[in-house]
């Protein structure tokens, strides 16, 4: 490099000095990743508290929850939750969890931090867009939370916001005026943030790989983030128009989603000609890829964690990658399985059910490869690997309920019941959370330079593993017994006998929620008092383990790393006696150098 270009480069990459530039409006992907993680942490605690309130109300319908009246005087007079407030809390719980936890933590938080490092880059190609993507997401979160304090409360139409309930305004119910419009605005802003993020991720993988880093040498986590970004790009680009049209129906008197001749409170609504099902098609075209956006990064993370802890590569990385791509591709063809009895043409229902059944195949391949790779391995047990194994177990449990829901004839019985709620909480909620936990225990030493407390980590795992099974497995039994979902109370004759099971679930939920405080304590305590971490505590091979813990502001110290090997050279004979070769090590190995 000549003198001008070196100077130019230096100017571009001068380290930040002011507090604002270092910690607030930072261009450094590592800081942005940590900011996303912090946002997801706040979001998950909020979402969890909301779920506690919901569960207490379901188990003990008439109980007064002390203090709830301060959150909403109308929603919970003297602490007793009204049915509308239950639905509002439910809507916010789901919206916060799906968008600000499951899309944010595994993808935006870990991806922002580690993707540039894993491809050997100094930063993402568009740091300003990256910074904007975080702050846009942050603004979206603020707008979303504001619904608790504005107008007559949050919307009650669920995170799915089906029209016309969500489109006709205040007449539909409390929270459906200002609350619904703010909700749609927040989600629209969120879409913009994610699109900016996806842009950066895709460009990083395509154009920022260092010398020797072919696509075939990318760690599985990098692939997972890349595949997720491709899905995000197309899915969020469809949700945003849907939100725009919904807002227009509210504030501009249009009728995109509201049909003619509808009457509420004896008043004929002014809308005409809109299509109820149009909202569902637009929403689920986004919604189904969204659930894969939530889980694919977690799959990448636990694959990466398991390989490092098994001291051997997966049986076939190709099978894993093709399966992840197949999941992404098929995810666009299956969305109608959310609409089997929606009034859509019954032929379409059958048409959607076949790719839905087919999507079992790549999921099965992944599970079989994960389990099959354990055979003959040298599995190390630590907090990260425990959560990775827990992910596999949870994904199996949540996945087999998909066999039922993929068939329209069975969906006749199980649609809109707790069976669906159990399915998605296990396969997406808990599994993705376990992926986040696994990634945290694994990468915390690199991000902070300190080790987390292993004992607390193991206690966290055991209690969470058993606890989440106690919460969500019974949901399936409730579903088989035809327990309809989104009910604030169970007053139907056939539902009253199920209340004891609901109470059991509530106790399990409160307990498991409390257990998460162990994790929070571990995070905070270890951040300041944890044992100093070596550069490579897990003896990993990918590029993040070749740098100091924590990494310097310019990742590789201003030099480009050079990559000689694929990322999973474990179980090999080396000159130093170690059983692994790092990607950037020039050492040639006798068996399988590449």
């Amino acid at each position: 490099m000549d003198a001008t270009s070196a100077a130019h480069a230096a100017q571009h990459h001068a380290p930040p000095t002011s507090f604002i530039r270092k910690h607030v409006f930072s261009l450094d992907h590592k800081v942005i990743g940590k900011q996303y993680y912090a946002l997801a942490l706040v979001a998950v605690l909020t979402g969890m508290v909301l779920s506690w309130l919901m569960r207490i109300h379901l188990g003990w319908n008439n109980a007064a929850i002390p203090g709830l009246q301060f959150l909403s005087a109308n929603g919970a007079p003297a602490g007793k939750m009204t049915p509308e407030y239950y639905l509002e809390l439910m809507t916010m719980h789901a919206t916060i969890m799906v968008f600000f936890v499951l899309t944010t933590a595994p993808f935006a938080a870990f991806g922002n931090y580690f993707l540039p490092i894993q491809v050997g880059a100094e930063d993402m190609p568009f740091p300003h867009f990256n910074m904007m993507s975080f702050w846009t997401t942050f603004v979206a979160f603020c707008v979303l939370i504001s619904v608790f304090f504005v107008g007559d409360g949050p919307p009650l139409s669920g995170w799915t916001a089906y029209a016309p309930l969500s489109a006709i305004g205040k007449v539909a119910g409390p929270g459906q005026g200002t609350g619904q419009v703010l909700w749609a605005t927040a989600i629209g802003i969120f879409c913009i943030g994610q699109l900016l993020g996806a842009l950066n991720f895709i460009s990083t993988v395509l154009d920022m790989r260092t010398k020797g880093m072919t696509l075939a040498r990318l760690p599985v986590t990098a692939w997972a983030w890349f595949i997720t970004s491709c899905m995000g790009l197309t899915a969020f680009a469809v949700l945003m128009p849907a939100c725009v049209l919904l807002i227009l129906d509210h504030v501009a008197g249009t009728s995109f989603f509201v049909a003619s001749g509808l009457v509420i409170n004896d008043q004929l609504l002014p809308h005409s000609g809109g299509s109820t099902l149009l909202w569902q098609h637009l929403f689920w075209f986004f919604g189904h890829p969204e659930v894969y956006i939530a889980i694919v990064p977690g799959m990448g993370i636990i694959t990466h964690v398991l390989i490092t802890n098994m001291r051997r590569p997966m049986l076939s990385m190709k099978a894993i990658l093709y399966s992840l791509w197949a999941l992404a591709f098929l995810s666009y063809m299956v969305y109608g399985h959310h609409m089997f009895v929606s009034g859509m043409n019954p032929f379409s229902s059958l048409a959607f059910s076949f790719p839905t059944l087919m999507i079992t195949i790549p999921s099965t391949i992944l599970v079989l490869i994960w389990i099959g790779s354990l055979y003959g391995s040298k599995l190390r047990i630590n907090s990260a690997s425990l959560f990775a194994l827990g992910f596999v177990s949870m994904f199996v449990s949540g996945g087999v309920s998909g066999f039922f829901l993929a068939q329209p004839s069975i969906d006749i019985m199980l649609h809109a019941t707790y069976f669906v709620v159990g399915h998605f909480h296990m396969v997406m909620g808990v599994a993705a959370m376990f992926g986040i936990f696994s990634g945290t225990y694994f990468w915390f030493p690199k991000m902070t330079g300190r080790m987390m407390n292993e004992t607390l980590g193991k206690v966290h795992f055991w209690l969470s593993f058993v606890g989440t099974y106690c919460i969500f497995m019974p949901f399936h039994y409730l579903g088989w017994a035809a327990n309809v979902r989104r009910f604030a109370s169970f007053t139907d004759d056939f539902l009253k006998p199920l209340i004891p099971l609901h109470q059991f679930i509530t106790v399990a939920a409160l307990f498991t929620g409390a257990v998460q405080l162990i994790f929070i304590y571990n995070l905070i305590h270890s951040r300041f008092k944890g044992a100093p971490a070596p550069d490579n505590p897990w003896e990993g091979t990918s590029l993040e383990w070749s740098m100091p813990s924590p990494p310097p502001w310019n990742n590789f110290g201003g030099k480009d790393p050079v990559v000689y090997h694929d990322p999973y050279q474990y179980g090999v004979k080396t000159s130093t006696g170690a059983d692994y070769v790092m990607q950037n090590s020039p050492e040639q190995i006798a068996t399988g150098g590449d």
């Binding site: 009034g343 039994y477 139907d492």
Partner: protein, 267 residues
């Protein structure tokens, strides 16, 4: 610790399966003509899902147990057949399994949705609105009067917006708050949404269909057992969603005719 994890996974897997095998919580007994096809499909799927679930969890547990002692000098071994065998197993076995489920399930779905109602099905209209179901029988002229949404007036009990003064077809329509049908009689249920999306779900009848504002759909079914069943709304429709229900009484033909006469007198 690995062995404990393995044991825990096995215990959880078996414990999860117990309530299913013991039928502790299950759907109400089927009282419809088409329901057995759905129930058969459900049992089929239960077996396949159950076997897959137990096998996967138990094998996961066994592998965790066996392969977690860390010998620094031992070599790793590969699963016999490597990835190839597993991928082929997934493609062929699981592929065949899901295709079979899909193919066999078409019959149950087709019976509900692709076969039109027979000519002597009894037409009944149901209207879903926040937060109640109302039903309408066509009366002796066998014709339903037209709906005029602007005439809907709950206080005057004109739930459907009928105009009996100007519409002769509407004069003998019978509007009720609960649904009664004769046993072993095919019913052609015409579904109309008054305000937002709702759904008509009768678990015992194996019937589940959303109401779509702007789209008038129908389903048909035949009940085979006399009794009282609950119709619940299963599509979130507002704050009263949890309490939106109606009762469906399946009666003998004589009882039904009496009931209908009584309701007609109350109009």
């Amino acid at each position: 610790m690995a062995k404990l994890l393995a044991l825990t996974i096995i215990v959880i897997a078996i414990a999860s399966a117990v309530p299913v095998v013991m039928h502790t919580w299950e759907a109400p007994a089927d009282v419809s003509t088409h329901g057995h096809l759905i129930d058969e499909q459900m049992s089929e799927t239960m077996i396949e899902a159950g076997v897959s679930f137990l096998a996967a969890q138990i094998i996961l547990a066994i592998f965790i147990w066996k392969f977690s002692s860390f010998h620094t000098d031992g070599k790793t071994r590969t699963f016999p057949g490597g990835a190839k065998g597993l991928v082929i197993a997934a493609l062929v076995l699981v592929g065949a399994e899901v295709l079979a489920l899909g193919a066999f399930g078409v019959k149950a779905w087709a019976t509900v949705y692709f076969i039109p109602p027979s000519a002597d099905a009894l037409p009944i209209q149901v209207q879903a609105g926040q937060f109640a179901f109302y039903f309408r029988y066509p009366g002796p002229d066998r014709k339903f009067g037209a709906l005029h949404p602007e005439l809907i007036n709950e206080a005057n009990q004109n739930f459907f917006g009928l105009d009996p003064e100007h519409d002769p077809d509407a004069r003998d329509d019978i509007v009720t708050a609960e649904m009664a049908i004769p046993v072993n009689q095919e019913i052609h249920l015409l579904m109309h949404a008054k305000d937002v999306s709702h759904s008509f779900y009768v678990p015992a009848l194996r019937i589940h269909q959303d109401f779509v504002p702007g789209l008038d759909l129908s389903v048909h079914f035949t009940a085979t057992k006399i009794g009282k069943y609950e119709i619940v709304c299963s599509q979130l429709c507002g704050l009263g969603h949890y309490s939106m229900r109606a009762y469906l009484s399946v009666m003998s033909r004589e009882d039904f005719n009496d009931w209908l006469k009584k309701e007609a007198a109350l109009q």
